[in-house]
């Protein structure tokens, strides 16, 4: 009896260990609710908004040793001003240090830039839920049939996501300013 318990304990721990090591595998793609409910009518239209000549990142980074130290960037990417929980976050919290052309989730799994919404959804869960339902963000295309999505980062700069104020278009004319073709007040 005792032996029976022992052996089942060993098998159980082996199973747990195996499943943990498997889920920690970095190349595995994740299945979110979005993918399991994925409607073939939904497509992402816009590609990630990379700056010119910036992608693939590995073009420059393949010869650079990753530096994990949190620091101010001076000789590259110095145009990026991080205004996104900058006290607690830094480049390598989202960008992967070893595979420069990928992002990574908090648990280390790698993501393509085209799936960046999964990364955003780690902190902004309710927003991701609303986005998947079509409430947050903008859908274009067809109200019936193929709907087109924008990625989070197409509207929100991931390094500084708050919307910047815009210049409004001109105010409408007041009734007193309306004239007919002969210049006579209407």
């Amino acid at each position: 009896m005792n032996n029976y318990f022992k052996s089942s304990f060993v098998i159980l721990s082996a199973l747990i260990f195996f499943s943990c090591s498997k889920s920690g595998k970095s190349e595995e793609t994740i299945k979110t609710n979005y993918e399991s409910n994925k409607d073939s009518n939904l497509i992402a239209v816009a590609s990630p908004p990379f700056s010119e000549f910036i992608f693939p990142c590995s073009r420059c980074h393949k010869n650079i040793e990753p530096n994990h130290k949190r620091r101010e960037l001076v000789w590259a990417h110095d145009n990026i001003k991080l205004e996104h929980d900058e006290k607690n976050r830094w480049c390598l919290d989202c960008h992967d240090a070893n595979n420069r052309d990928k992002l990574h989730l908090a648990d280390g799994r790698l993501l393509d830039f085209t799936e960046s919404y999964k990364l955003c959804g780690q902190c902004h869960g309710p927003t991701l839920r609303n986005w998947l339902a079509g409430e947050h963000g903008k859908r274009t295309g067809s109200w019936k049939g193929q709907k087109q999505y924008l990625l989070c980062v197409n509207c929100h700069n991931p390094h500084s996501p708050r919307f910047k104020p815009l210049e409004p278009l001109p105010r409408p004319m007041k009734p007193s300013e309306l004239r007919d073709t002969n210049g006579i007040r209407l």
């Binding site: 339902a133 409430e135 947050h136 903008k138 109200w143 509207c155 210049e167 409004p168 278009l169 073709t181």
Partner: protein, 301 residues
Amino acid sequence: MKKNTDLTRREFIKGAAGIAGATVLASCGLSGDALEAFLQKHFKELSNDEKAEILKRIEDECKAKYGKEVAVVGTPAEEGVLFAYALDISRCIGCRRCVYGCCEENNQSRDPQIHWITVLEMDKSEGVNLEKANSYYEVDKVPQPDKFYFPVACQQCENPPCVKVCPVKATWKEPDGIVVVDYNWCIGCRCCITACPYGARHFNWAEPKIPTDELNPSMHYLGNRPRMKGCVEKCTFCIQRTRGEEKKYPKCVEVCPVGARKFGNLLDPSSEIRYILANKRVFIFKEELNTRPKFFYYYGL
């Protein structure tokens, strides 16, 4: 005593009225297409052949006036569709992109100016208070920190007061919920403008002017075909887009830079509009008037 004459009183009056009418029309210079347009039947009474003929006539008129090929359609409502709209007032920043996008899509007169969408600027401290609202705000940047913005267009009421008051039935609610106007049937009495509690109907006080290069050539009879002086017009949920083959979203939804505008089929449980009604704090503008709008305002944040 009753005399037996060849011409009854009724027949005489009929004949006289006919001759008088013809004289008036001739003296107005109405002939050919204009005369046909004047004598055309109500849109809902037209047979398919008559419709095709009228759409062709309007295409020709537009080509003659603007020197541009246009396509005018009369696509009917689709079964199982009831359009609805939702606008997130916690996101709208009052940039007026929708106002001008609508204007270009729907061939509104540029001079004198007609806008189907009015964006109201309101004080956050006041809430939705029309007495303190301002549609003529001029600022460098929007949103202003102490303001919120409240765009108003036709609410596509299920119980539309404008339709009730029209003395000639030139405006009606379509099966997909869009309230439309037959511009040719409208007599320009403006009763509907007075009846609408949302200020959503607009009158062509003068002959509308649209630059040829800005004319949108994809037109619907009940929507964005060029209007004439003396008729009333309003938002039609971009009927030429939403009923078109591609079932596009209205233009204002597409141009909104903050994604505050949502559109869909109220009868489709998976539409974003149903998600909003089920999950968000939704309110109806001037609910107490029992107009039952299919335009919902909500707070997404």
